[in-house]
Every structure is written in structure tokens, then in C-alpha cells.
Amino acid sequence: MGEIVAGCLAPHPPHVVYADNPEQNEPNSEGGWETLRWGYAKLARKLKTLDYDAIVIFTPHWQTYVGTHFLGLPHFKSKSVDPVFPNLFRFNYDLNIDVELSKSMHEAAKDAGMVTMMMENPDFRIDYGTIVSAHMINPEWNKPIIPISSNRNSHYYSVEVMNEQARALGKACRKAILESDKRVVLISSHSLSHRHFTVESELPEDMSKQHIYNHSNYVWDMKLIDLMRQGKMDEVINLMPEFTEQTIAETDSGSLTWMMEAMGMPDYPAEIYGYQSVIGTGNVIASWDPNPDTREVVL
């Protein structure tokens, strides 16, 4: 029987990869965003202690308007260039997909009445959101991944509809995982508040210029993080429509709702690994460990 061994809220500003200077990324930096990067390093160390087979990532930057899509080919090798921050992120990737589990989740979602499709075009490029989150939690890239697209229900209908659709998808993915023999880590890849500054410092990693876009977004971010610490994820998901609209949050993708539903809506405290602003947006690294014996109070 399969198992979800952890769920991680892993924001994907390309800045954190840029600041880390991995060999796969073409640009070089003088560092920056240490609060996030050190938090990611600690989370990556924890995940190394867990026994798991694959990483499932729900990504806001594979945006689909016709249903939810899953990757259906075993290997992708190319270069991912961030269309918004190409100066920071031009990442040469070489990664593996767990197609078997990807197809199982696709079938489960389809059986549950959702519009789904397998993506089987070998020229398809993996989005930078997937790569940033996957790289920061597993820089060795020694686990296969399963990216899931973000069906843009928030745009087409409302955040409420997104929430319901994402919950249904979470249920379907949970069913597929439990019916498999795989142990997986789930990744919800996004920021919290998501209003950007529209200008960039001459030196992007100039940390004297980094702060949240406005105080309102900060207070909202802290409200959600406080609820996460208290293990009140049901309340977080119920607050999602208001939070998303008030802070232009990247939760509009449905990613966090999907992960919480797939994990059975945790009522235990999240592990908080760090919070920091990146070009105005609010980013928290958090993890939900279902095992009380290994669950930590990190920050």
C-alpha cells in the first residue's frame, strides 16, 4: 500500500536557485535570500531521512485551461528559461518522471469526473516552478517527479470553484497513491501573497531592497502561517477565497488546497522552515509530517 510521507509548501521564486549557484543554472549570483535558502537546506536534510520513491509537484506555472494535465513520458532533458526572470533562471535539466504513478493519478482523476489529459509530446518544456521547487528540496535530483498542471479555475470561475476542484483532485491523487506501492512526497509549489514589484534592483540579490509589497499582505501571510502552526488547515482552506483575493495570492492555482486534501486535511502543526519576501511576494517554506515521531518544531 502506498503512503504520503510528507507534504511541503515549497515556493518557487527563481531567485533562490539563482542565489544558490547550482551548476545547472547559467547565471551567477553573489547569494541572497538566505532565510529561504537555509530553510530549504534544512528541509532537504530532513527529507533525506525519509524513505520515499517519488515527488509529486502541483505547479502554477504549467497553466492549463482545458482540464488537469499529467506528464506521460519517462525522461525530459532541456533548458528551462523563466519567461519573467530570464536574467536569473536558465536551468539545464535532466529529469525522470514516474509515469506509472502519473498515469494512475490521471486515471483516478478521470474516474472521479475531472477533465484530464496525459502530456506525451517529447518537445514539451518543464516549467520553472516545478524545477525550482524540486531542485531546492532535492538538489541531487535522485528521485523521479510527477508534475501536475494547474487548471485555472480561479480565472474562469472563482476561487471557491478552484477550491472545490482542487479538493476533488486531491482526493483522486490520494486514492491513486494509496492504491500504489509508492511512498511519495507532495509538493505545493507557490508563494503566499503574490504582488510583485514591477522594477528590479540593478543587482537582483541586493538584499537591502527586498521587502514585502505592503503591510496588508504581510499580515495576511502571518495569519495563514499562524494557522499552519496550530494545525488548523481546514480553516486555512476555508479562508482561501478571501486570502487569495486580498493578497493576489498564488494559492489561486489550487496547489495548497490539493495537497491538504490529499493529506487528509492535517490537524497537526506544520513545520515552518522560513519566511521571506522575494521582489514583494511573501514566501513560506513549510512541511507537514504525518508521523508524530519525526515531526519537529523547526522555527
Binding site: 519573467v84 526572470f85 480565472h155 474562469y156 514591477t198 521582489i279
Partner: protein, 305 residues
Amino acid sequence: MKDSPIVFGLYVPPHPHPLLAPEKNEGWGKLRQAFDTARKRIEESDADIILIYSTTWPSVIGHQIQARSNPEWVHVDDDFHYLGSMPYKFEMDSDFSHQYHENCGKRGLNSRTIDYDGFPIDTGSVVALSLLNPDNRLPACIVSSNVYANRAESIVLGKAARDTLEQQGKKAIVVVVSSLSNRMFTDYIKPEDDRIHSAKDQEWNQKIMQFFQEGRLEDLSQLSREIHNQIRVQKVVAYKPIWWMAATMGQNNNYQGEVLAYASLHGSGGAVIQLTPTTGSIGDKEFDEDDIEFYTGDRHVLDNG
């Protein structure tokens, strides 16, 4: 209009069906034929450059302007990947791009040029350039659509483009890549079952095309907010392409309009429309939104409240 830097303008749809699958639906085929007609007219013109504003290239850090001389890649659409891949090798007018960037700055806009191997040129731009300029007969320039920009920035962005054309003495084919109504079906449909998503979208598309046919581009620009509220999925803050197009082409109603084709693309309104500058004018609307020459940024209303 022999003094105009604009040879003519084109409004074309972003989705890949006319490029990758024109034979699968009569309407997609008509859009493809219209693209082909537009291509021939470009070839027969004395234009120096194809200048594109694409709604499928979003940006955050101001507006981005493609400046790589020969961008080359194989593009795949996020939604319609099953229709096939889109290999491309384009030729950009880098000199124009750099001066356009400078002129944005002179008008108060934040912008930057883009020159990176592997930069993902968006579906709409790939479709437009592949069909309108397959042999790179003319160099091109592509400008992004900033997700936070509204009317002032979009209009000033258009004026900066026109400044650049006038400074360089170049004549342009101005291309806007955008749907009319942009609501697609959220389920898979057979190609033969494609239709405009709703009767409301259909009626508004017809009204917009009537304005285009009458050459009333500035009137459409004035109606932009209403169009956005009525038939645009609220993905971004405003229906911006028509502001940019009107500003680039001269902010008037003096055009000969021609709808070359109109058809649904998975429910959205796809049209290939040509606007050619003339001396005639039509339009009885009162222009009730102020013109703007220079973008001064946020007004910091919250800070001052």
C-alpha cells in the same frame, strides 16, 4: 497615408490550431487562409519590420522586448501540446528593440530587452510569425504584456513604439496577438463541434468586428474596459492590446477595416483583421478618457489616505 510609419495593422488569434491543424475544422482552415492572405499582403508591402504585441507573453518587471537576433527553439503549447510541436527560427530587429526600450524609459516606462538562448517565445508570437513571416522576409520585434499594466502604461508603450518607428524611419506591420472573446471550453471537444463559447460572446465579437470594419480603432480603445468586463476572462486587469494597438497606430478612427476571417478556437473568438490607415474618418463617440504622453507611475493613494 504616405507619412504614416504604419503600413497596416493586423489583429490575429494566439491559439495554435490555424498553424498545426487547419484541416480539422472549417473555421480553423478559414483563419489559416486569412493568415496566408495577410502574409501575401505583407510580402507585397514596403514594410521594414513586423512589430508584435502578444497577450500570451506576460511580464512582471515592466515590459520585455525581444532583442535576440535569431531566437531558435521548438515550442509546445501548455494546453494544446497534442496538436504538435512548433519549431521556429526567427529574425529580430535588435536595433529597433534596443531603441524601443530606450524610448520606453523616456516616457517613464520600465522595460528591458531580452537576449537569451532558449528564451520561451510565447505561443501567440510563434503562431503569428510562423504564419505571417515564414521565411523571415522582414525582421520582427515582440513586446510583452505586463500583468499589472493598465491603460496609461499600455498607451504609453504604444507611443514609444511609434516614436521608435519615426526615429528609425521604418515602416511597420503592427500585429496584435489576442483573441476577441477569450473564454475557451474547459472540456475537450471534437474539432467539428467547435463554436463560440456563448451567445453573449458571439454578439460582442460581432460588435467589435463591426467597429473594426468601420475603421473605428480609437473608439474600440475607448470601449476597452467595457469589452474586458463583458467578454474577457479576468486573467489580467484589463483588455490591453487594443490600447497598445490604437496608440501605436495613431489614436484615430482613420482606417479601412477588413475582417479576413472569424471563427471559434476551442470556444474563444479568433479573428484575422486588417486595419489600413486612410484619410477618411468615422465615429461619433465622445472620447471620455484622457490621453497620456508620459507614465508617472503609481499615485500612492494608499500611502496618502
